[in-house]
C-alpha cells in the first residue's frame, strides 16, 4: 500500500492511464472488435488533437493555480477572425498568426484582470466566455465567411498520413506541442516557477518569483493553444462556425482533473491532461459503438470527473497519514 501510494503521489496520471487501458479493452470486447479497427482509430485520433491541445493549456494553467473557462469561446473566435481576414484577401500565412494573436490577447486580458483586481479566475474567465463568444457571433455577422475549398492548408494540418492513413497530421502537431509544454514544465526554470506559484503562492512570492508574470504567461499559453485547436478543427471541417467549441471548457477541466491535476494548483502533469482528454474521447466513441444512447456520454464524464477528484483527494489524505520515509 505504501509503495503504491508513493507511486501515485509521484505519478497521479497513472491511475487514469490504467483506466484508459481497461476501458479500451471493455469497448473492444463490447463492440466485437470494431473499437480498435483502423477506421475507428482514425476517427478517435482525428478528434483527439483538437480537444487534447485545449486540455494541455488548461492543465498547465491549473497547475499554475488558475482556471480558464473561456477556452471554448477562444476556440471559436481564433479561426473566425482568421477566416474573415482570409475572406478579405489576407493570405493564410498572415491570417493564422493574427488569429493566434487575438487568442493571446484574450489570455493576457484574463491574466491582467484576475491579478490586477485579485479576483478568482473562475469569474474573470466565465465573463470572458460570454464576451468572446459574443464577439465571435457578432463579427461573423450571423453566417460564417465563405472560404474556397483550397484556401486552407489541409496538407499542413489535417491530411491523413502514415500506414493505412491512420493519422491526421494534426496528431503530430498535438504531440509536438505536448512534448514542448511538458518539457517546459518539467525541465525549465519557468516550469519550476509555475509549480511554485500554483503550489503555494506566498512561498513563491517570498522567493522572488515574478508570480504575476508567470500566471499571465500561462493564461496566454492556454488561450493560444485553444485558438490553435479551434483553427485545426476549422481546417478539418472547412468552415468556421460561431458555435464551435461550446462546452469544451468544461471537458478540458474534466480532462485535467481526470488526469490527476489538483484543483488547488501545484500538482499535475501535461501527460495526465492528455490521458484525461483521451479518456473522454474514448468514452464518447465507445458508447456510440456499444450502441448506448449518446445522452449517457455527459453522465459518464460527469461521474468520472467526480470520481477522479474524490479518489485523488482520498489518496492524498491517505498518503499524508502514512508518513513516507525520507
Amino acid at each position: 500500500m505504501k509503495r503504491f501510494l508513493k507511486i501515485y503521489l509521484e505519478k497521479p496520471e497513472l491511475a487514469g492511464l490504467a483506466f484508459l487501458v481497461v476501458l479500451t479493452l471493455v469497448f473492444q470486447v463490447r463492440s466485437d472488435g470494431v473499437f480498435l479497427n483502423a477506421q475507428n482509430l482514425q476517427g478517435i485520433l482525428g478528434l483527439l488533437p483538437e480537444m487534447g491541445l485545449v486540455a494541455i493549456g488548461v492543465t498547465l494553467l491549473m497547475i499554475c493555480g488558475e482556471f480558464d473557462l473561456s477556452v471554448g469561446s477562444v476556440f471559436a473566435l481564433t479561426p473566425m477572425l482568421m477566416a474573415i481576414l482570409m475572406e478579405g484577401g489576407t493570405p493564410f500565412i498572415l491570417a493564422f498568426p493574427a488569429g493566434l494573436a487575438a487568442a493571446a490577447a484574450v489570455g493576457f486580458a484574463n491574466g491582467f484582470l484576475t491579478i490586477r483586481f485579485s479576483i478568482p479566475s473562475f469569474i474573470t474567465t466565465l465573463g470572458m466566455l460570454f464576451v468572446v463568444r459574443s464577439i465571435t457571433v457578432v463579427v461573423s455577422g450571423g453566417f460564417p465567411p465563405f472560404l474556397p475549398a483550397d484556401a486552407l492548408p489541409k496538407w499542413l494540418f489535417t491530411v491523413y498520413v502514415g500506414p493505412a492513413g491512420l493519422f491526421r497530421l494534426s496528431v503530430f502537431w498535438f504531440l509536438a506541442v505536448a512534448i514542448l509544454v511538458s518539457l517546459l514544465l518539467t525541465r525549465t526554470n519557468f516550469g519550476n516557477w509555475v509549480r511554485a506559484t500554483g503550489g503555494y503562492l506566498p512561498a513563491a512570492q517570498s522567493m522572488g518569483i515574478p508570480t504575476a508574470r508567470v500566471k499571465t504567461a500561462c493564461f496566454m499559453i492556454c488561450s493560444v493553444l485553444a485558438g490553435f485547436a479551434g483553427t485545426i478543427q476549422v481546417i478539418r471541417l472547412g468552415a468556421p462556425l460561431p458555435s464551435l467549441g461550446e462546452g469544451l471548457e468544461l471537458q478540458a477541466v474534466a480532462a485535467a482533473v481526470i488526469g490527476g491535476t489538483a484543483l488547488t494548483g501545484g500538482i499535475g502533469t501535461i501527460f495526465g491532461g492528455i490521458i484525461g482528454a483521451a479518456l473522454i474521447r474514448v468514452i464518447d466513441n465507445g458508447l456510440v459503438l456499444s450502441q448506448v444512447d449518446a445522452n449517457w456520454f455527459k453522465m459518464a464524464i460527469g461521474f468520472l470527473t467526480i470520481f477522479a477528484v474524490v479518489a485523488n483527494s482520498w489518496l492524498r489524505k491517505k498518503a499524508k497519514s502514512i508518513k513516507v520515509e525520507t
Binding site: 525549465t188 503550489g199 517570498s206
Partner: protein, 243 residues
C-alpha cells in the same frame, strides 16, 4: 564602533488603518547575532519583511553597508546578500526538496532571456550537500516537502538560506512548532553564524532562546522599539518587565 551593516531609520508601515511600524530606527552591526523579541502583533515580521523585500515601507529609509537601498522585491534583497527564513511561507509543500532549495535561483544548463533548462543533477547534488552541511539527514532530495515533519522542513529552509548565504541571515520565529531537540539545533546554528562571518537576526517570542544565542536583544511592542541592550547588560527578568 564599526559602521553598521544595516541601518534603518524612521520606518513606518500602515495596513489599512493598523499602524504596524511607528517610526522604527535600528542599527545592526556586522557579525552580531541580534535577537528581536516581542509579543504577537508587535511588528517584528513587518520589520523584517521590509528588510527582505517582501513588503515596502510607507515611510523611512534603509541603508546596507552605508548605501541607501530600496528593495522592490525579495530578489533585490537576496542579491544584496540578505537571506530570510520566513515565519510561514518558505517552502512549497507540493514540490521536491531539490526544487524547493533552488526556487527562483535554478542553475541552468543554458538560457535565453532568463528562461532555460535546469541542471537537475546539480540541483540534487547541491541540495544533498546543503542539507548535510546543516547536519540534517534526509535520504533523498526528491522527497516532497509536504511529506516532511515541521522540523525537517525548517531544516531544509535553513539549508537553503545557508547554501546561498552571504552577509545577513534573518530567521522569523524558526523555532515555532519544533521539538526541543530541533529547537536546540536551530539555536546552535544561530550561535554559529558569527564564525562563518554572517550577521544574524533571530526573531522569537521566547526569551530563553534569545538569551542563549544572541549578542544583543531588541524588544518591540505595538510597532515601536522599547528596549535595545547587549545581552550581558540585561536579564530575562528585565526584558519581561518591559514587555
Amino acid at each position: 564602533m564599526p559602521e553598521p551593516i544595516i541601518q534603518v531609520g524612521d520606518l513606518h508601515k500602515w495596513y489599512s488603518g493598523v499602524h504596524a511600524l511607528k517610526g522604527v530606527s535600528l542599527d545592526i552591526y556586522a557579525n552580531e547575532a541580534l535577537g528581536l523579541i516581542g509579543d504577537n502583533g508587535a511588528g517584528k515580521s513587518t520589520l523584517i519583511n521590509i528588510l527582505s523585500g517582501t513588503q515596502r515601507q510607507d515611510d523611512g529609509w534603509i541603508r546596507l553597508e552605508g548605501q541607501p537601498v530600496d528593495f522592490s522585491n525579495p530578489r533585490d534583497a537576496m542579491e544584496r546578500g540578505i537571506e530570510t527564513i520566513y515565519q510561514y511561507n518558505s517552502m512549497v509543500p507540493t514540490m521536491t526538496i531539490a526544487r524547493n532549495v533552488f526556487i527562483g535561483r535554478e542553475p541552468l544548463k543554458f538560457s535565453l532571456f532568463g528562461i532555460g533548462v535546469m541542471d537537475h543533477k546539480k540541483m540534487r547534488d547541491d541540495s544533498v550537500s546543503a542539507i548535510a552541511d546543516v547536519d540534517l539527514h534526509l535520504r533523498s532530495p526528491d522527497a516532497i516537502v509536504g511529506e516532511l515533519s515541521g522540523g525537517q522542513r525548517q531544516g531544509v529552509a535553513i539549508a537553503r538560506a545557508m547554501h546561498f548565504k552571504s552577509k545577513v541571515m534573518i530567521l522569523d520565529e524558526p523555532t515555532n512548532h519544533l521539538s526541543v531537540k530541533e529547537t536546540k539545533k536551530v539555536i546552535g546554528f544561530v550561535r554559529g553564524l558569527k564564525d562563518q562571518g554572517v550577521t544574524g537576526i533571530f526573531i522569537s517570542h521566547n526569551m530563553h532562546q534569545v538569551f542563549e544565542c544572541c549578542d544583543r536583544v531588541v524588544a518591540m511592542a505595538r510597532g515601536e522599539i522599547v528596549m535595545d541592550k547587549r545581552i550581558e547588560e540585561t536579564s530575562i527578568e528585565e526584558v519581561s518587565e518591559i514587555l
